[in-house]
Symmetry: C2
């Protein structure tokens, strides 16, 4: 398919009729000026949809947003970074509701029209005393911007803000779609990214939007893995306000399909950006499994390879180690036959029929020396395939994740624990 979209500047502020704002409360680091509280607001009523972590331990904002999304009429999203508001019990629900209430009245919305999201350390109460003095400023700053303030405010251990926006034609109307994402750690299939917000001025019913979101998340965020850990806070929320002027897209209409293709492309773009900016990641690896008996078998193989600590270590070392790849294929619980497995690394045959191929090792080594390469695993047993996007695992990742103790010490100082 040709690329039928134009990239435009910004993210969630790029579509018409959306205002954004972000302030610094010092949730990430007291006294610092890093943005950590963000607001997205649509001037017009919206259709809305979302998907959330399948972790049974769900953060308070996830529970609150899931309840609010039931009617599908969100018009604003408030989000903070630095504290996940997870494992915080009744107080956590209270704090998430307070975030909604703080902006609902001034924006003349019901509490249930606000989506709420948090990301950061698990288990610490929200520092409400740092947020309350900042709500006025958050509302005052609300204005037509491109959304980069929101993208910057939601990141934690990410090295940079991640946002994408595109415009495309639906019939005679120019439609815009923009999104931002934060990721970095705790990235695994079944809702990968920690937080992703998407806005559009397309015109869809909430039902149609929900179907499109579920389908596109399956093809994007559910196909990435960095460390195999699934977060308590994973959230994707999408608002569509119809400000482009297009008539409402009917189910299965050409307009609906065009929108879905654009959403799929945008989500995949954001998902890949999460992997590329994974915690201390040095390699972006596309793993394609082909020739599986079933879709599920292909998926099992891709997940086992993408999650193996040994495989990821060898990617980090620039070692074209097909032996470790096939050993992960073997324990994936998919139906495979060792003697049929072919593995190509960067287009070069590494393993044919379960055995070392004749490709000179230096050529394979060159292939994995690139910061981005592709591994194709053909099981030669059927027609099903699956693709995943993964990264290496670096010594620096572990170093980086050795301790969150500093956050706890701060919380103790604040009298929160």
């Amino acid at each position: 398919m040709d690329f039928p979209f134009n990239r435009i500047k910004g993210g969630v502020g790029a579509p018409q009729g959306f205002l954004t704002s972000a302030v610094s409360c010092g949730i990430k680091t007291p006294g610092s000026s890093r943005l950590d509280l963000a607001l997205i607001y649509s001037e017009k009523p919206c259709s809305s949809a979302g998907t959330f972590t399948t972790n049974r331990v769900k953060a308070a904002p996830v529970r609150v947003s899931q309840a609010h999304l039931r009617k599908g009429d969100l018009r604003a999203i408030i989000a903070n970074s630095g504290n996940a508001n997870a494992c915080t019990g009744v107080q956590g629900i209270h704090d998430a509701n307070a975030m909604c209430d703080a902006v609902a009245k001034p924006l003349k919305l019901n509490r249930s029209q606000i989506g709420v999201a948090s990301t950061g350390v698990i288990g610490l109460p929200m520092p409400a005393m740092r947020m309350e003095p900042k709500y006025d400023e958050l509302l005052e700053r609300l204005g037509p911007k491109n959304g980069s303030d929101v993208a910057a405010a939601i990141i934690t251990s990410d090295t940079h803000a991640k946002e994408v926006a595109i415009s495309f034609e639906i019939g005679e109307h120019r439609v815009r779609l923009g999104g931002c994402v934060k990721g970095a750690g705790m990235i695994s299939p079944s809702m990968a990214t920690m937080l992703c917000f998407i806005t559009t001025d397309a015109n869809l019913s909430s039902d149609n939007l929900r179907k499109a979101v579920l389908e596109c998340v399956e093809d994007s965020f559910n196909r990435i893995t960095i460390d195999g850990d699934m977060s308590t806070n994973d959230t994707v929320m999408v608002l569509a306000n119809g400000a482009s002027g297009m008539p409402v897209a009917r189910r299965n209409s050409a307009a609906c399909k065009q929108f879905r293709e654009a959403l799929r492309w945008l989500m995949l773009e954001l998902a890949k950006a999460v992997v590329r900016d994974g915690e201390r990641v040095t390699k972006f690896v596309t793993v394609k499994v082909e020739g599986a008996r079933t879709y599920l078998d292909a998926k099992k193989v891709a997940e086992a390879v993408c999650k193996s600590a040994l495989v990821k270590s060898s990617w980090n070392g620039g070692d074209p180690n097909w032996g470790r790849i096939i050993h992960a294929v073997g324990y994936s619980r998919a139906r495979i036959r060792e003697e049929l497995v072919d593995i190509h690394i960067g287009g070069k045959a590494a393993c044919i029929g379960g055995l070392q191929a004749s490709t000179p090792m230096d050529e394979l080594r060159d292939a994995v020396a690139h910061p981005e390469f592709e591994i194709v695993i053909n099981l030669n047993q059927g027609d099903a395939d699956y693709v995943m996007y993964s990264s290496d695992l670096s010594p620096e990742y572990i170093d980086f994740n050795r301790s969150e103790y500093a956050y706890w010490k701060q919380a103790r100082k604040d009298g929160l624990v």
Copy 2:
């Protein structure tokens, strides 16, 4: 239970009637004097049993030993380190058979009475030209030793040889049980250790021995994890030659139960030794899950916690991070309720009812500062429990596993690939 066994010196050579031998072929490192080919031989006929990797990619020696074990009359085991003879196709089967043949005739045994095992790099053909000149020496050296030569010859990235032997009374007879193990990397549930050999002069039928082995492996090697990767070569083989003079133990007899308890203790001791000597491991962590609805739920929770890269990173950092533990509990797919979960670290309450407990953080931090500590996760939903033994994940582990390229270069020099 009181400890009813006496520790004795040595390992697989400690029971009566077993001879051992080991030589250096230069499989691990050409020209080096490190032992890398070992032989265990019983002077009397044996009952035998074994369990093997459930990886669908199985090394040639695993396939050969599985076939040989069908009759349950193994009398010798030959094993090498440095090359796994995995993903080596028909040539691999030929090479594994050749190892058996090399000792079968001189020992006046059938090929099918020899167990064979290999550990090391995957995907490279066996360097038969280095092993053939050494078989005579291997047989000449065979003699009554305590088995430490075998323990030393099977290790690869292990920092030291690991063996245990005990003696205990069955009726009027003193019975001996000895074993050695190599582990280090690729350690995960469903057959953990790479190689474990156990000998005993107890007297059991192969059927009874097989049942005891399956049950005891489930309670020991299947409960450890270091990096979550399952090997292609995992092998446990047990030989029982009856040389203690005890009459054959009948099924469900007291003698049979006594033997099983001893075997369980020995296997758990060896399994724990594998974790403690895991690649670049600094912490030995016992994870107890209690109050689960079912055994399977308890197991799922233990496995999720023990395999989480983020949890393991925090252990490495000495961070008593219960937030990461509960997030792994949440994605384990077990039936849990966040608000019921209690987590104790080193006997101190870290999380009660899904919330931060009142224990001062410094006390929790002291608990995880120990090289060995225990984590108890109570789901408060039922009576089922499960225990696992795990380790931290260190930056050094990844550094260590970045590349096996040197092995491949050597194989190229040898004309093997």
